[in-house]
Symmetry: C2
Subunit: 454 residues, 2 copies
Amino acid sequence: MKPNIVFILTDNLGYGELGCYGGGLVRGAPTPRADRLAEEGLRLTNFNVEAQCTPSRSAILTGRYAMRSGTLTVPIGNPAVGDPNVQGMVQWEVTLANLLSDAGYKTAHYGKWHLGSVDGRLPNDQGFDEWWGIPRTTDEVFWPGNPGFEESGVSPQYIMEGKKGEKSKKVAVYDLEQRPLLDAEITRRTIAFMKESVEAERPFYAYVPLTQVHLPTLPHPDFAGITKAGDFADSVVETDHRLGQILDAIDELGIADNTIVVFTSDNGPDPTWPWQGSSGPWAGYYFTHMEGSLRVPFIIRWPGKIPAGRVSNEIVHQMDTFTTFAAIAGVPIPTDRAIDGVDQSDFFFGKVEKSNRVSVLAFVADRLEAVKWKNWKLAFYDNTHDWFSTPVKLTLPKLYNLTTDPKEQYPEETLRNTWAMDGCLKAIREFFDSLKKYPPVPEGAADPYVPPST
Amino acid sequence: MKPNIVFILTDNLGYGELGCYGGGLVRGAPTPRADRLAEEGLRLTNFNVEAQCTPSRSAILTGRYAMRSGTLTVPIGNPAVGDPNVQGMVQWEVTLANLLSDAGYKTAHYGKWHLGSVDGRLPNDQGFDEWWGIPRTTDEVFWPGNPGFEESGVSPQYIMEGKKGEKSKKVAVYDLEQRPLLDAEITRRTIAFMKESVEAERPFYAYVPLTQVHLPTLPHPDFAGITKAGDFADSVVETDHRLGQILDAIDELGIADNTIVVFTSDNGPDPTWPWQGSSGPWAGYYFTHMEGSLRVPFIIRWPGKIPAGRVSNEIVHQMDTFTTFAAIAGVPIPTDRAIDGVDQSDFFFGKVEKSNRVSVLAFVADRLEAVKWKNWKLAFYDNTHDWFSTPVKLTLPKLYNLTTDPKEQYPEETLRNTWAMDGCLKAIREFFDSLKKYPPVPEGAADPYVPPST
């Protein structure tokens, strides 16, 4: 049988939080389950993501830079204000859930979606057989209690659920009371779905975007105060526990050897206090082009296929999981559009030492702020360490050696290494050439979307 | 037989370099031997040191804050200029080598001393049966080739050797030609000394202060270019290899079970480019009170005694190794002076979860810049991230929570946590009370030093 895929996506979990990434105890939050998962699988130290929640989720599900999909930034959440992003991702996009459904998988989404909060743009409209969770994001739990909100006419966010072919339903207002309970319920539903799939003798794809450790990091009552290091640490420990519950269920179902488990994060850590996360040895937070924004934890386990205990600093992008899992499931990816993800199965399986990718483009909203090529980064914007400040476009780009200068402080390498700029510029050229061939979906495009003929 | 002690001290190796501390591959320099040593022993993530080379080495050897020993800063190296620190540490200080010699150990120093470069203040004057290495530091290798040096009348630094009871001898000028070769020779001599000690059926104490990764990080020819990531990474790989050679020799001599091995660093990383090291998740470089200055790697292995694979974030100070090793060797420590190191053997052996220490004072030169107590730091000076700038004394101290705020950016915790200031202030009060009872040795004090009667 085709392997099951369990994709656990944490929210804003920075590179430096997990024990196996140098966090854990020093952050007041031991993560034994994630650490053990790393020992049983492959752990990457150069796994790259989009700079923010919405673009990251579209990249994971479509294998394409968000720049192509019109999902450039997080919608501010209120459909009433006319933010073009509120509509989310057009149905024309082909998600991994679409592909795996076609290949006979049962597919489910439990958790945070953030790719559209209107009918037609919810998970059950985008390839998932069923879903339960929130359409947007967690900071909206503050809304219902805030002065003026009730009289505003703005709708709060609802916890929702839906099935393919049916209209999604509201379950409850997502507020400060519900917030601590969400990941426990996401986990419970994930486990139930896995059990049903096993009983139905169907391969399954469980996409599990947890809501922790996004602000406010209010942990489940079972975890409140457990670390004595505050909410944030409590919620990291809860997240590790949720991972553990899913792993235990996989063992109990006897499907460990046929189940690929991914544990990763959507983007870098939040810079805002007191929810600021750790970028570990890197500088910068999410929504920047710094390594602290681009690199997140990524652990993948498939016993007997992916060698255990391997750590690699090869460049991989979250989009590659789309292409790799499609290849593993034996289902072709679309050929009528650009797919940026590359097949990393030989690299994951340890058949080759090298990743099938040498470069990554770092977009922030609609800006190409930087490009990585091998151990170099060419930045076109200044090093903003904080997404509250506007990035300043540089007259001349700056080149950083990420091995010797992990905090991106010494751009004087530029003139000594113009050869390295060539590699960076090639990646950009190829991308913009492909944009000409396949124009991007505009922000706010309506369904049905028809790409322009070129 | 009493256990052998091999204390390997790297130079300026920051918290973030070794693989097991989140460095390794991402720094272009895999460190498999150090990583394996950590799996075989105890690895600390809150091991604290003095802020600079000379004070750090005096603290290790005497179990006392350098503030007590008149070894406040690195001498600038040239005895002609009258720097009071040039004389180094008075003979009145009692080193671990003194204690272990008295207990029947063979003792040797191979490497960098930096506690005095005049006769009477060299390692063979301070308890070591023999030594080979450099009396001062490695940046002086630049001197001989520099314009004006030859005519200046200033003596270059020499590689030296000596035996207890004899005058030390010059071996060769320590210059850019010798620099890459030093650690190989230090390692060769360490291994020969261990072999001799085993043949003589004597327990031994090998104090091995390697010269890497201090600037200039010119690696041995066997390692030059090996990483393709530059001199610094090459020298980290060489250092890991030297550790490996010593560990292999311990295995070949069949003494692993009766040998305590320590692998650590004298202080935090160098901020100067291109020799800048990594503080990992912490901020700041050496000669500051930031965690990047205070926390360094520390791995200790004693098979069968120290549980394997343990990682702890408990506070330990390098001075504690003095007291702990004296206790393990069964030799009393001096009672006529203040000893700041505490016995950590029960903690190291895993008999207790907690360290025998809750606080650390952070001196920089003659300033008490900060104090750590549990997971708090109270800073009396501003957060200088660079030792070229003068620290500014704060009107009111700032309190940081090191668990939630590892980069020490959010001192607003102060007023919410005045209770935590009490713990910090108690540690300071106790220290200054003991200074009244035992006045510190003044900088530049002559031998024989006689403490004032109090």
